[in-house]
């Protein structure tokens, strides 16, 4: 009998205690961020809007290798390779359909020339689905993005006008296969 009474009392008491504790939340701090008025802190590595960067010379970094398009799990990147008079490869068009993009960052990981990068900008909502398809002129920015000093054509062995084989940074001249010296 006493156990039953005690259980009834303890049960009732615990209900009132939890109601009181919830009531005290009236005086707690709100954890909501009132978004359009207050800005949200976005960390520097946040994966938001995708950009195409340029190397320190101001040339396009993208060499149209298609690795980003291959690595994209939703297949939202499409591009076409072409070549300019200097021998540099670049995309003829570069198109990202942001209505499909899931901002996973795989393209950034796959990119061998650090051209494609994700930025901490997420405010790209639109009423028109078609205007979420970004072309190259929308993606290409003027700056170098996260890697200020990286310059693919100055580090790799590809020859372009003004830089023949063996003249890149830290690169030795090609071995003369007809020479007899070791």
């Amino acid at each position: 009998m006493t156990t039953i009474l005690w259980r009834i009392l303890a049960g009732t008491g615990s209900q009132f205690r939890s109601m009181w504790l919830i009531f005290l939340h009236t005086f707690h701090l709100r954890s909501t961020v009132q978004y359009p008025e207050e800005t949200v802190y976005v960390p520097p590595r946040y994966r938001g809007r995708i950009v195409l960067t340029r190397d320190p010379d101001g040339q396009e970094r993208c060499v149209a290798c298609n690795l980003c398009a291959v690595s994209c799990p939703v297949g939202c990147i499409s591009l076409q390779k072409t070549e300019d008079a200097d021998g540099r490869w670049y995309p003829e068009f570069f198109r990202i359909n942001f209505s499909r993009c899931i901002f996973c960052g795989m393209c950034e990981e796959a990119c061998p020339t650090m051209a494609i990068q994700l930025t901490p900008d997420f405010e790209m909502a639109d009423y028109n689905r078609q205007s979420l398809v970004y072309e190259k002129e929308h993606l290409l920015i003027a700056g170098v993005g996260k890697y200020p000093d990286y310059n693919f054509y100055r580090l790799s062995g590809v020859s372009i006008t003004g830089k023949s084989k063996g003249t890149a940074l830290n690169e030795t001249l090609p071995v003369d296969v007809r020479g007899l010296l070791p």
Binding site: S18, H25, R30, S31, T32
Partner: protein
């Protein structure tokens, strides 16, 4: 046969106008409660709730209403059409009819019957049919499970809720709400009828189908329970019915246990200074509002029990408690009247 004089017609007209005003105020209040509940729940969950539309977000209920009006009024092809349409009508109108007995001020009540409390119990019993009909006619398993739970819950709470009010009826000597409120002029019934109030609180929450007794709805388990298949205005009628129920039960708790329109005079001591006039409506509204907040606080704080646990508590704890309360009240009244020299 007497002829109706002009003053008779005027009296009838004013009474009808009052009824319409109370009805509209209840429905608009139910609409506002949807906003209030979301705001207050938000406050108790450390967020803001809807605060964008209008000042403090108060126009949110207008926006919601517009949305519901323009939604497609969809009846599923597998539903039993007549009962499917009847259910929301019962759900809203039964509790709205019961609003008629709530005494707001001495001059503002729709009906003052000799069977006020019985009418409330009857309408509370009738409103369950809305849920049963909705659950059955929807022809879907979630709705059916909701209706089933509602039936199980109904048989457990209606008995003790009726008995819990009998103590008050004995003390006031009447089923009439006006008489009951007037009898509390010098002391609210919460003191002599404390256990009656506890039992009625449980029963009232169950009548309004509010959390933690919202088993028929149980969003986490049953999609939306009995109104899973409803949309648009038919769904809105269920929703308004729920908030009318909250208002009704809060108003009844005020009138039955907390002295209705009387100023606080808990233990017979006059707390209210003489020179300040008493505004009956303000007292009634304030007390009712506090009970509505209590409903929301209960929803914010307490988890939902299983329905066998509810029946367990109803039959094994609340029913004996209400019976003991009734018998002890009767014994005390009997003893007092016999010593009073009858």
């Amino acid at each position: 046969m007497n002829e109706l004089s002009f003053s008779d017609i005027l009296t009838i007209g004013i009474a009808m106008l009052k009824a319409v005003v109370i009805l509209l105020a209840t429905i608009v209040g139910a609409g506002l409660l949807t906003w209030l509940e979301r705001r207050v729940l938000g406050i108790w969950q450390n967020r803001y709730g809807p605060n964008r539309v209008g000042p403090f977000g108060i126009l949110q209920f207008g926006a919601d209403m517009l949305k519901l009006f323009f939604k497609e009024d969809w009846t599923p092809p597998f539903a039993d059409v007549l009962t499917f349409w009847l259910a929301p009508v019962i759900g809203m109108s039964a509790l709205l009819i019961a609003i008629a007995i709530v005494p707001i001020t001495p001059n503002w009540m729709i009906a003052s019957l000799d069977i006020d409390i019985l009418l409330f119990l009857a309408m509370g019993g009738l409103s369950v049919y809305a849920i049963l009909f909705a659950g059955w006619s929807s022809n879907s398993k979630y709705a059916l499970l909701g209706g089933l739970r509602s039936a199980a819950q109904t048989v457990s709470y209606e008995v003790f809720m009726g008995i819990s009010l009998m103590g008050i009826v004995m003390l006031a000597g009447s089923f009439n709400m006006y008489t009951i409120v007037e009898a509390q002029k010098n002391g609210w019934y919460i003191i002599p009828q404390f256990f009656g109030f506890i039992v009625f609180l449980f029963g009232g929450i169950a009548v309004a189908h509010r959390s933690p007794f919202d088993l028929p709805e149980a969003e986490q388990e049953l999609a939306a329970g009995f109104h899973t298949e409803y949309a648009g205005m038919k769904w809105a009628m269920f929703f308004v019915g729920e908030y009318v129920g909250v208002t009704l039960v809060s108003g009844l708790m005020t009138a039955l246990f907390f002295g209705g329109w009387h100023e606080p005079a808990l233990v017979g001591v006059d707390l209210w200074p003489e020179f300040i006039p008493v505004y009956p409506f303000i007292w009634f509204a304030l007390k009712t509002f506090i009970f509505i907040l209590l409903f929301i606080l209960v929803r914010a704080a307490l988890p939902r029990p299983r329905y066998d646990q509810i029946m367990d508590a109803g039959w094994k704890f609340l029913l004996p408690l209400s019976l003991i309360n009734m018998l002890v009240t009767a014994a005390i009244i009997l003893q007092q009247s016999s010593t009073g020299g009858v």
